[in-house]
Symmetry: C2
Subunit: 419 residues, 2 copies
């Protein structure tokens, strides 16, 4: 590749053009393309797996770590999962064109808001090749053009998947520029993608914190980002302790590595003596290491001493910080100081404190008596998610098809003029 | 002022703290404060006018141009208008806390979206001192803290208004940090405000294109911006020509200097011969200078020849570009190439072309058979507007109270855990 920037800009220009054409085409073509892609991915599973083996061999030769190789690996089941994902997105309601709140104004004009695609979406991701199909599907269904930049370690797999998608786009009559995969391992391509706001409307990075911070820092295009999930569960003085124990245990142990996993448990001093000893044993039996404040350690002797850093840490593993606090205000102050604005839970039977927690805690999801693990596009009924946003602007929390759209005003008149 | 950056950062920190406190306080206090501010502004009109005279004298001494002096000037009527504006905002529905779409998921949790303040809003504006009260009112009503930076030429007026607002905040028991006016003419204050994303959630610049471009370029905080209004009206082959003449005439002449004024009129060649000669005379009589393409000039001999630049110009005055085009696709191609994404109008009785225009034109407002002058927060029923956004993300078109808020997910459970 001689000039990476020129190559990426050319993809951008063609994506912009394709996005405009999408507004003119029969919306049914989108679902036909997604279903045809699913079929062809199943039919060409062997070719995809062969390409993936090239990536795996190279990764092992280069000594990449086992977790990364695992994320990179496609199996027959994972390929079938990709096809299922495409069909599932095809089955979702088309968000484009929906008009909200159309009403007649005193002047006689009717005013409403129509949901429309954002335009061109850039997705930057790491090793998992299935993101290529998943992200393309969500962008396509929402009427956008997608420019995908996967990890260089997955380039053979991504090429194989991209080739299939391109073939189908041509077959059904959609513009090729609707889905582009940046086909060079050159890292300069990322910089080029982040530096062309005239062609790209939004960037969504998917991967580790390092990738996301780098993208957010360097981008001239707005970024929908998910930085951290330092999620809290607060056990209130009026909590149902049996219910709370289930909620807290699930929030920590149902899966360790996800962003909606509880990382700190706050317990009101009024119930700490009744709640913490049993709960501490239960976590210990499950292999969860506890790091507690002084008051926690009096009730749970096996807990390590928490340092200030523990309150700010997203462990993404079998470790939990525990702090005894004096009431709701202290709990919310701790969350305001240490939380990452992802998901916070209160366990309580008290109406006023539940209402205050819902209103006052400034996180993308705020819950009463439910496991933080529910903070997820599928569980919320969005159908599928392209990520979780910790932004405050535009879209917050799990991002589904609607988060990939915007609204414009439509005005229907009969010759009205302004006086 | 020794260290402007430290001063502005201190305002930011206090605004952040005040925004948090707002979430805890009785929402009724906001309306009490707005009504009390209105009353006190009326009561202290003499003091405000005296402060304004200081600004006017200084402006004249420094030889500022007449248009700027006019924008700077407060009269007894303008002061009364400020008070009315505050009362009007107090009377709007409180957007905060509304929950949309709460529904029960198969897991048993109820999921909905609650509308919440953005947090801290920075407003950067030029000479008009009434913006100080108007912008503060909209930020306060939507539960946000505001940091206001007015033009240095209006500093005495802004101080007088700010002092009144501070007195009222204290009287009703709202934190002083909810409304801050940056009280230094030092231009470094703007840079400091744009450079503290930890304290400011969004910046709204109000003023000329130069100001807005500078703010957008320098800001580390997301900016809701309004760059240009190069608005089009397209007269379709199936237009009702009498209706269209009224709509087009109003769109150009009802007010020249506004962003939703028509700047280019596109006419289908099929009706140009019937439409343009009369319309050209009518614009001529109204003192509107026409700049036309070759085909326009054959029908309207008094029109000047349009240059390529005319298609890209927001005249903000009694000048109109006119182009004859071959049908809807050519009209939409012209708009895609030259439009600024603000407001576009089609005049037609044809169902399919009206529907296509609504769907395919990518502007913040798209209209059928109505004057583009309707693109306005009051006309759309938003109650009041803080500006018009040509952004695609977060908020697009007229920005009212809702545009100053965001949503978070709320989850109501009864001990549900994820399996």
């Amino acid at each position: 590749m001689e000039d990476v920037t020129a190559y990426v800009r050319d993809l951008g220009q063609r994506a912009r053009q394709a996005a405009r054409e999408m507004n003119r085409l029969d919306p049914g073509l989108k679902d036909r393309a997604l279903n045809a892609m699913a079929e062809r991915i199943e039919a060409e599973a062997d070719a995809i797996l062969a390409a993936n083996r090239e990536d795996l061999d190279r990764a092992r030769d280069e000594g990449l770590d086992a977790a990364l190789v695992d994320r990179l690996e496609l199996t027959r089941e994972r390929v079938a999962g990709m096809a299922d994902g495409l069909r599932q997105v095809a089955g979702l309601d088309d968000p484009v064109g929906a008009i909200d709140g159309l009403r007649t104004r005193p002047s006689g004009i009717q005013v409403g808001k129509m949901r429309v695609p954002l335009g061109v979406i850039g997705i930057i991701y790491e090793s998992r090749p299935n993101v290529t199909a998943d992200a393309a599907a969500l962008c396509l269904k929402s009427g956008n053009a997608a420019i995908l930049r996967g990890g260089s370690e997955a380039i053979s797999s991504n090429r194989a998947i991209s080739r299939i998608m391109q073939t189908v786009l041509e077959e059904v009559g959609l513009p090729a520029g609707v889905v582009s995969v940046i086909d060079t391992p050159d890292r300069a391509a990322v910089g080029a993608l982040l530096g062309m706001p005239e062609y790209v409307d939004i960037i969504i990075p998917r991967g580790g914190k390092g990738l996301i911070e780098r993208v957010a820092r360097d981008s001239q295009v707005p970024v929908i980002k998910h930085l951290e999930g330092n999620c809290h569960t607060y056990i209130d003085a009026d909590a149902d302790l049996a219910k709370s124990a289930e909620v807290a245990f699930n929030a920590k142990t149902q899966r360790y590595g996800t962003c909606n996993t509880m990382e700190t448990m706050l317990v009101d001093a009024a119930v700490a003596g009744d709640f913490l000893p049993d709960m501490g044993r239960r976590f210990q039996q499950a292999g969860v290491e506890l790091r507690g404040c002084e008051r926690t350690r009096e009730l749970v002797p096996h807990a390590e001493t928490a340092s200030e850093d523990d309150w700010d840490t997203e462990y993404l593993g079998p470790t939990l910080a525990v702090r005894v606090v004096d009431g709701l205000d202290a709990a919310m102050a701790h969350i305001a100081e240490h939380g990452s604005g992802h998901t916070e839970v209160i366990c309580t039977e008290n109406y006023t404190r539940a209402r205050r927690f819902l209103r006052e805690v400034d996180s993308s999801s705020v819950m009463v008596n439910a496991s933080s693990r529910f903070a997820d596009g599928y569980e919320y009924g969005l159908g599928a998610e392209i990520g979780i946003s910790t932004n405050k602007l535009h879209v917050r929390g799990p991002v589904g098809l609607e988060g990939l759209t915007t609204q414009k005003y439509v005005v229907l008149g009969d010759g009205q003029v302004r006086s």
